[in-house]
């Protein structure tokens, strides 16, 4: 009986093995199971991850008082309960104002694996990224002074900064956003896909494996590769062919390149594309085949790829609702105008 079981496993492994090889050749990478290897991938030598910084960064991530209005936190648009984004087509912030270019909020989960941040890839890492939306006018609309004054007005925050950085810490805007980034670096979501690539053939169903093969065979991994299955700048046919090119005026970076979104947890982050114009995942797959690969992906093939994408739905880190410090007489008051 034991021999039969081993044989069955051997057969599955033999079948899966060429697919793993094909995936690796196509540039698909997994989240390492080994914590030391994972830490190497997510850490930043200039802003090292520590437990105290992560805990503090989580509080700041959830604190709406960093915004001008007192109503919008990082978690408002990058909602950890909602696949790490907001589920609306265009990011909407201060005074209910939509992003002027009709840009969609990308997920924060696994953003640590991106080689650049924002749809136009203008920032190199999460530390720099975290400075943007806090100050952007249609988002959190705060000034650097507002953020630093808000945080330093609360003794409980100062105390935690001292614990995290030492007693002589100078709590600047940049240190606050660095601390938020540290928390974000930990938001990685290992999925059945990773288990599969890490050597466990049974982690993905035969249907998911078939979908993965279709995904690679069609050329999707040309852009959607690496650990994030995305996160790199790529040529994107927005103006020429993209079905909803008319929604928003985004044209990519100076060279017309656009950041490829991650496919991890893609089942949880509709609507899709930089302008959030397509809700159905299968529709999005077909659109990408047409626009980016110049080929017709059939309904059946798209359905198969969609099944594979389900295997990228990952386990979220447990995030306990923090208890934020109480404001004091020195805390800047909310300004909704």
């Amino acid at each position: 009986m034991k021999i039969v079981l081993l044989s069955t496993l051997a057969v599955v492994t033999l079948m899966a093995s060429p697919l793993i090889d094909q995936a690796k050749e196509a540039g698909l990478l997994s989240i390492p199971e080994n914590p030391t290897q994972l830490m190497k991938l997510i850490d930043n030598a200039k802003n090292p991850i520590t437990k105290k910084k992560v805990e503090l960064g989580k509080k700041l991530y959830f604190d709406p008082r960093l915004s001008k209005s007192g109503l919008i936190s990082c978690n408002t648009c990058h909602n950890l309960a909602m696949g790490g984004d907001d589920g609306v087509p265009a990011a909407t912030g201060h005074k209910w104002t939509a992003n002027p270019h009709h840009l969609n909020s990308p997920t924060v989960y696994n953003a640590v694996f991106f080689s650049s941040q924002f749809w136009d890839g203008r920032d190199p890492d999460l530390e720099k990224q975290a400075q943007g939306p806090i100050q952007a006018h249609p988002e959190m609309a705060a000034t650097k002074d507002h953020v630093a004054n808000t945080v330093t007005s609360m003794p409980a925050y100062i105390k935690e900064f001292k614990k995290a950085y030492g007693k002589d810490v100078n709590v600047t805007f940049e240190l606050i956003t660095d601390t938020i980034a540290t928390f974000e670096r930990t938001l990685v979501t290992p999925a059945p896909y990773d288990e599969f690539l890490n050597g466990c053939p049974s982690a993905m169903t035969p249907e998911e494996q078939a979908g993965m093969k279709t995904f690679i065979d069609k050329g999707c991994a040309t852009c959607h590769n690496g650990v994030a299955l995305g996160g790199e700048m790529q040529a994107f046919e927005i103006t020429a062919k993209f079905k909803n090119a008319h929604v928003g005026d985004f044209k990519g970076d100076a060279n017309g390149l656009v950041k490829t979104p991650t496919l991890r947890n893609i089942t949880q982050t509709a609507p899709y594309f930089h302008n959030g114009t397509i809700w159905g995942l299968k529709d999005a797959i077909i659109e990408m085949g047409r626009t980016q690969l110049g080929l017709e992906i059939s309904d059946k093939e798209a359905a198969s790829i969609e099944v594979f994408l389900g295997a990228l739905e990952g386990k979220k880190p447990e995030v306990l609702t923090p208890e934020l410090p109480s404001e004091t007489a020195n805390t800047p008051r909310p300004n909704l105008d």
Copy 2:
């Protein structure tokens, strides 16, 4: 040595005991330590608390897709990380619209202990209350159909409703709001004050005990009594004497009565009063002395009462960020207009 310790304890108990008696005479009640007694206080025979309903209710509480815009959840205005409210003077909802009467969002923590809900006390319990803001136009702005259609469009939600209510469940708007209320019923925050009243004299510092005595002696417990130290309808001198009577047009219920807010976690729920016009807790105490009790509470007395109110800061239940189900093709799309 043991005898000395016992004697010290006996002395503390002797000193504390008259204060406990005085508190009980003044109508101050504690959250029972005994889980069965607590359950009796928070449960609703018509909507009994079960673990499955609480878990499901938590998801619904955090789900912004119940709102018309897809951006506002119960947790937006009753933020569990912020003492259970939003920290802005007037509740602000759909299309960035402030409450038309400039009413302040009350905390959800311990709201189960209120004898009526809303500032005008118009609803008898959390089940009925939960129906209000979801449909209110400057808040979540949804229709009953929107809410029911949204929830039933997601198989994962249906599955959880079946688990919680049985396989023949009919997921109506009212069942959804009942389930949210079940979660809210569990949001109680036992504090040092409760330990003290439950018979542990050392749970409150001598300063907190002194503040409690001042609180009772001045007459604050005339309105702020019961388990919530509030939550009952009371005459409130809004128009006649209240310093910020001009902010908003709220006049109380048909008889001019206003719901007394809870003092639990009051250190975390500034700004204060129905119209959120006073930020400082000491200022609020002095204003209430003047307006409601017709006496001048000195700065020193107010500071002492404030110290007591710190002992009402309670331990929050651990709330893990839920993972909300993914929308489907049938899920109503966000409407920000």
